[in-house]
């Protein structure tokens, strides 16, 4: 049941409206941060208002009129979209809170620019989540790339600039070189219609050979999903301030990537049609390869944020892998994993940032015994780790469960092995950190002087996200329902 | 470069020669260009439509009067373009020697006297060419060039300063602009009286004679406009080029 509504528009606009406010209030940091918070809460509230409507089975739609022949700029809120929006908008509040603490704690420069870009990128994220057709999706995808660029290069030094260059060249390059032609090809083939539909708008209009190429172009082209070989922007983008890393790796950027891939599978082709074409296996193997390789690389990283980054690549691989299985359970697992991984990974990044703010430590090898210094932070870190690995009492288990079930359903035993191996690898690169943090003695006298937690503004968000991770294990119903709207899995 | 040029030229030449085989024989009265409706119309109907015996003039100033307006504009552009590119405005440039004796202080006596005798005649002939463009070869453009040439001759014989007193730079520019204003203004007058741009028949109410005569008279007017511009610009081109834009002394 589709109904016209202004809600998606307003939701999208809220954070955009905050931008001029942020710029105008640049002289008074408190008022400026207030504006951000107001927008963040408003956004979350609006998304929350929409959730029951979507759960009713309604689909909200808003259209700006045609921007290309046959293609309107269109918002369309369905289960998948609202789930992603929910995750993004809720985490925006926390990230903002954290960012305030982080930025002030480190007395960073250009905070106004930072918050303004932050608001733009969250708008773009919501735009992607609500996008009603491939063109709108692409539009906001590009806006996101551009608006996060200043965030990545925030420090402005040589390292940041080279990281930013890698970031932008990968994201823009792939989207222009692969997505754009593939999208126009879809447009030509589908006769000028690009709206996402449940069965996929390309269904039945394309052959296996072309379908293979278009699918690969779209999947790899949305390089924010971090699939190899276009993954290297992610570790390089770690030069950004930690709240940005959190935004990039947990909420906005990478999730937009996998979200786009899910849209491609469900909205563009339709899983049934892809099953007929029998072309998704290639994507599965690319994803599987990504999962294993990135986990192996993560093992060897000493820089904590880089380790987290490679872990993210692996987790994104899970999501793509899940959706490429084409089974309802697998897709549900993927959708759930967007949320679950977001909660887990953002906790981890927040912790990394908190450690940096409090202790100025960046490397894993320096974290020996830090659990005594920062027990709350490290506890949250442990929860986050469990969630990412997929161990009980965290939400990660739920999504992984569905993923594994999906794999079993589709009968791809080899991929099952991939899941198993990679989970072990995950455990290998996270658990030692936790172990050494709590159970080993610090070697340096530096660790004297009692507890030294990060500022409260940093600490609170990471506790909340850790709690969310745990909560989503016990009560994943809402997320499940929303995902079920897409896949039909109850 | 030479080789490249040679090859390019040979290719172009071969291309053009290949096409000549396809042309009607030279001077064939039955060729499409000569036999075509447009050409026949010009030859047969010019006298009916405009009462001008010289078809070239009629086609130039009326049927394709729009083209000719731009032709005049081309000349105008050349003139002010040359001034814009070459002219150096400085303090020393503006001071031309004054007084009547400057007329005679330069140049050979024989040449100067000859020039004094010939220039008015050339000018008269130029005006004759303009005025009789309807009946004999010539018209505004040719007459204008001759008028301009008469001043160039004067400048050559008596020195540029003397010529500048007769046709100063500022005056030349004004005359040149005035020429096009006459031409285009005449067209606008047609427009104001209800016709299309340059549709001379709409001027019938304010000109003597019938509609065809209105065309004929209007052609004279626009030819005069052309002559204005051409005269002034020809002299301006010469005076700038012969002094490297300083307008001090002639050649």
């Amino acid at each position: 049941m589709i109904e016209e509504s202004f809600l998606p528009l307003i939701t999208w606009m809220v954070s955009l409206l905050a931008v001029p406010a942020i710029l105008l209030l640049r002289r008074t940091p408190n008022a400026r941060e207030m504006a951000t918070f107001v927008a963040a809460f408003a956004k979350f509230a609006l998304v929350a208002v929409m959730v029951p409507m979507i759960l009713d089975g309604r689909v909200l739609r808003f259209s700006f009129g045609e921007i290309l022949p046959g293609i309107p700029l269109e918002f369309r809120v369905d289960g998948l979209g609202i789930l992603f929006a929910l995750v993004a908008s809720s985490l925006w509040i926390l990230t903002t809170l954290y960012a305030v603490g982080y930025m002030r704690g480190l007395k960073e420069h250009d905070q106004t620019r930072f918050f303004a870009c932050f608001a733009v990128s969250i708008s773009a994220t919501i735009g992607v989540a609500f996008a009603g057709n491939l063109f709108t999706l692409y539009l906001f995808y590009e806006v996101l790339s551009l608006s996060t660029y200043p965030l990545v290069t925030h420090h402005g030094d040589k390292e940041a600039r080279s990281g930013g260059r890698t970031y932008l060249s990968h994201l823009l390059g792939t989207s222009v070189a692969f997505v754009l032609p593939a999208m126009i090809y879809c447009w030509v083939r589908s006769g000028g219609d690009m709206s996402f539909t449940d069965g996929g708008f390309l269904a039945g209009k394309i052959g296996a050979g072309d379908g293979m190429i278009v699918l690969l172009a779209l999947t790899l082209g949305f390089a924010k999903s971090g699939l190899m070989p276009f993954h290297s922007w992610l570790p390089n983008a770690m030069v950004a301030p930690t709240p940005v890393s959190a935004l990039l790796h947990a909420v906005a950027v990478v999730k937009v990537g996998v979200f786009c891939v899910i849209r491609v599978f469900t909205g563009v082709f339709g899983t049934d049609f892809l099953g007929e074409l029998d072309v998704a296996t290639a994507v599965s193997w690319i994803a599987a390869f990504t999962v294993i390789t990135s986990s192996l690389i993560a093992l060897s990283q000493d820089n904590l944020k880089r380790r987290l980054a490679f872990s993210t690549i692996g987790q994104l691989g899970y999501i793509v892998l899940g959706v490429s299985l084409l089974s309802p359970l697998g897709v549900t697992g993927s959708i759930l994993h967007i949320a679950m991984h977001a909660f887990g990974k953002i906790t981890l990044f927040f912790c990394a940032g908190a450690i940096y703010v409090a202790m100025h430590k960046k490397y894993v090898s320096e974290l020996v015994g830090i659990g005594r210094k920062m027990p709350i932070t490290m506890a949250a870190f442990a929860i986050g780790s469990l969630s990412v690995i997929g161990l009980p009492v965290t939400g990660g288990l739920v999504s992984k469960w569905y993923l594994v079930m999906g794999t079993a359903e589709s009968g791809q035993i080899a991929l099952l092995v991939v899941f198993l191996v990679s989970s072990i690898l995950n455990a290998c690169y996270f658990l030692p950190i936790v172990y050494r943090a709590f159970l080993c003695r610090p070697e340096e006298s530096l660790y004297d002087g009692g507890r030294q937690e990060a500022p409260l503004a940093c600490l609170v968000p990471l506790c909340i996200t850790a709690a969310l991770s745990v909560f989503s294990f016990f009560n994943p119903n809402l997320l499940l329902k929303l995902a079920g709207l897409m896949t039909g899995v109850e | 470069m030479k080789l490249f040029g040679f090859i390019a030229v040979i290719i172009v030449g071969a291309l053009l020669l290949a096409a000549t085989g396809d042309f009607p024989a030279w001077g064939d009265a039955g060729s499409p260009a000569s036999q075509g409706q447009v050409s026949s119309f010009y030859i047969e109907q010019t006298i009916n439509e405009t009462k001008v015996p010289n078809m070239v003039t009629a086609v130039l100033a009326d049927f394709r009067g729009y083209d000719t307006m731009f032709e005049t504009v081309v000349i105008f552009i050349a003139g002010i373009g040359i001034i814009a590119v070459l002219r150096t405005f400085g303090d020393q440039a503006s001071k031309a020697p004054d007084g009547p004796e400057a007329d005679n202080d330069s140049g050979d006596l024989i040449v100067r006297t000859t020039c004094h005798m010939v220039v008015p005649l050339i000018q008269l002939f130029a005006l004759y060419v303009i005025a009789h463009g309807h009946h004999s070869p010539g018209g505004g453009f040719q007459g204008g060039v001759m008028l301009g040439a008469s001043y160039i001759l004067f400048a050559l014989a008596c020195g540029l300063p003397a010529a500048k007193r007769r046709m100063g730079e500022r005056r030349a520019i004004i005359i040149a602009a005035a020429g096009i204003i006459i031409y285009a203004g005449w067209g606008v007058a047609c427009l104001l009286l209800g016709g299309n741009f340059l549709d001379y028949t709409s001027l019938d109410p304010i000109l003597p004679g019938d509609e065809q005569m209105a065309r004929s008279h209007s052609m004279l007017v626009v030819e005069i406009g052309v002559a204005f511009t051409v005269t002034a610009i020809m002299f301006a081109i010469y005076s700038n080029l012969s002094t490297r834009g300083r307008l001090e002394k002639g050649l």
Binding site: - | W26, A33, R64, I237
Partner: protein
């Protein structure tokens, strides 16, 4: 073979020699424009090139046995004073096609305007480089790069 060549000449060159000569002139002009080193020489080539094209156009308008495209006095008189229809009096084979002439008046004007402007520019070039040879100018520009 000789017969063929003769036939070719008879069919293609003799009746169209004007066109052939225009092509030759055009090639001369074009070649000079491309290869000459001296700017003034280039411009002479340009003028030759343009006149060749004008020659071509004028050649289009020629009709064998035709006169200039101006009505004689008696024809003028017959039509204007006696009121005879112009199509009776005027035999269009007797008059050259006036249209190419008109076009070429414009082309000549364009040619001289271009020439004038080009000469002005070459004087400016001479003023700043003190030479009109292209290679010498380029030599002067080379070490400095940008100025």
């Amino acid at each position: 073979m000789e017969f063929l060549a003769a036939g070719f000449i008879e069919e293609n060159i003799v009746p169209k020699f004007n066109y052939w000569v225009y092509v030759i002139l055009m090639m001369i002009g074009l070649f000079a424009m491309i290869t000459k080193n001296n700017l003034i020489k280039k411009l002479i080539g340009m003028a030759i090139f343009q006149t060749a094209i004008i020659l071509f156009y004028v050649s289009i308008g020629v009709k064998a046995e035709s006169g200039i495209p101006i009505l004689g006095h008696e024809q003028h008189h017959e039509i204007v004073e006696e009121g005879r229809a112009s199509s009776e009096v005027i035999k269009k084979e007797k008059f050259a096609n006036p249209l190419p002439h008109v076009l070429m008046l414009t082309a000549i004007v364009v040619g001289v305007s271009t020439l004038g402007l080009a000469l002005a520019i070459s004087q400016r070039i001479y003023g700043s480089f003190n030479t009109l040879e292209e290679d010498e100018i380029l030599d002067q520009l080379r070490p400095g790069g940008h100025d």
